[in-house]
């Protein structure tokens, strides 16, 4: 659909130049700095100028010491992403296919929560999930709490300060990141395709499975990425909604940096996290198919 302009050789570079320079200076250079830091050793606890020494021991420690939090972060983020998909897909579908004239407004509504503070939204969940609040009481009465307890996901009679609350918070906070890309790809689907399916006597479910779902895969891919990746590094949800066994790798990095003053260690964890995420993303892309999705 898009025409490519072979044209002037210099133009694209000039267009791209400022942005790339900006990212180069404010993203790549500091990262390089940090990488060097991850291979350095501190002479003492208060050494603020660690010596660069190709010291890979910082990396070696990460999986051993923080394996739990690392694994937990991926688990939480993964569950949250799945939940976002389950909740977000119907939302995107409904607005795209049945939204009609109000599509733009409805999808705009999805962005509206962004205009309040992420912190405040998370804090508000402590109100909603309060021990004596409606949600908890309903969960208790309906046996949901007992079910969660049976799985070992909560221990006690509350939802707040548990892993469940953290995952719930992650799901909630990143839901728009899933809905929007899904909507974008679903919106592009020509309604007439669906009508054609109907004409060919395909059932609703079959039409969905064979036509809509594949066409929406780019959106699923983009949405999953935009949800999963920030979720793994998050620590705000764990901070406000979590208890004693809900800390994520983001909390660890924060602790390493601020409390233990272990910049090399924190740097190593961060780089490893980035590597694992990138690998996961590549695998996911391979599984989902074509390269076009990495747009």
């Amino acid at each position: 659909m898009s025409t490519r302009v072979g044209g002037r050789r210099l133009t694209p570079y000039l267009l791209v130049g400022p942005g790339v320079a900006w990212l180069g200076v404010f993203f790549l250079v500091p990262l390089w700095n940090l990488f060097v830091m991850s291979l350095s050793t501190k002479r003492s606890r208060y050494d603020f100028d660690p010596a660069f020494r190709w010291d890979w021991s910082n990396y070696g420690d990460v999986f051993g010491t923080y394996g739990t939090q690392l694994g937990r972060s991926f688990l939480f983020a993964g569950v949250a992403t799945l939940a976002c998909l389950v909740i977000g897909y119907p939302m995107a579908y409904w607005v795209a296919v049945h939204g009609g004239r109000f599509r733009a407004a409805l999808i705009g509504l999805v962005i509206v929560p962004f205009f309040t503070s992420f912190l405040l939204r998370t804090i508000s969940w402590t109100v909603l999930l309060a021990d004596d609040g409606v949600i908890v009481r309903a969960s208790r009465a309906s046996g949901v709490l007992a079910l969660l307890r049976a799985f070992g996901w909560i221990n006690g009679d509350r939802l707040l300060d548990t892993p469940v609350a953290v995952v719930g918070g992650l799901t909630y906070n990143f839901l728009p990141f899933m809905v929007l890309p899904l909507y974008v790809s679903l919106e592009k689907i020509d309604i007439r395709l669906l009508d054609a399916c109907g004409d060919l006597y395909a059932s609703g479910w079959s039409a969905f499975r064979r036509v809509v779902l594949p066409l929406s895969l780019p959106g699923v891919f983009a949405g999953s990425l935009l949800t999963f990746i920030p979720a793994t590094g998050d620590f705000v949800n764990a901070y406000f909604l979590g208890g004693t066994s809900s800390r994520m790798i983001g909390n660890v990095v924060q602790d390493r940096f601020l409390v233990q003053l272990d910049q090399p260690g924190a740097a190593a964890i961060s780089f490893l996290l980035m590597l694992v995420i990138t690998a996961a993303v590549l695998v996911y892309a391979r599984v989902l198919g074509t390269e076009e999705m990495t747009s």
Binding site: M1, S2, T3, R4, V5, G6, T11, P12, L15, V16, P18, G19, V20, W22, L23, F26, L28, P30, L31, N33, L34, M37, I87, P90, M91, Y93, W94, A104, L109, V110, I111, V112, P113, F114, F115, T116, S117, F118, L119, L120, R121, I123, S124, V127, A130, Y172, V179, V184, K188, L225, L226, I229, T232, Q254, F257, A266, S270, M274, T294, S295
Partner: protein, 268 residues
Amino acid sequence: MTGSWGRRLVGCAAIGGFVLLFAPIAVIVVFSFNDPVGRYNLVWQRFTLDNWLHPFERDELTSAVLFSLRIAAGASVVAGVLGTLVALALVRHRFRGGSLVDLLLVLPLTTPEIVMGSSLALLFLDLGVERGPLTILLAHSMFCLSFVALTVKARLRGLDWTLEDAAMDLGASPWRTFRTVTFPMVVPGVVAAMLLSFSLSMDDVIITFFVSGEGDSTFPKYVYGSFQRELAPQVHVLSTAMLVGSLGLLALSVVWQRRRSTVRPGRA
């Protein structure tokens, strides 16, 4: 599964999703009318208009909000301009290094904020740059750039660029083509991306923490820090006000879209 049954299910699920999305928002709005006991506005006591009558009671909070707004505006303009240029290059031109640029754009999204923040703090220190509003602006523009570029790129890909050729073929000058065809096509995507980066900047805590000077307080930084001792109802009031403001903007833009779409094409 028949069509209408499925449709009803999807509809319910969708509505459920929207309810979920707005539940905490409802809490924020409702609690702006709360008269809390103690320092934390987290337990409903009783209704009061007091908070709304004195929304600016907490000087620090008010100046934090204003500061955040200014930074966000600056960052979204910078990111908007730079990101759009990059997106245009990637979509409209084929050049060596295109996929590298793609990779560069995605990298900030895979980097934990705490890494970006602390590495920037180190950088500023090494360069002798004093941390302050400028460094916050630079940092925010950086991470917004990726979002803008990717969003605009996705938008641009779906556009029909042959319209440009058509316009030129019909005798429109390049400038006219740009003004009447290209710009209107591109603008909605760019504006959407800038709005996105505005809210990203407003909301940022971690990076801001590392790149701000001692006294600089953005709205999220204020909330996070003050949470150790209180949660003032004015926080809810100002949040609700910002929410209403953005809803208003949204409504305006919907109206504007409607009006634009009733203008027949070709009549520029």
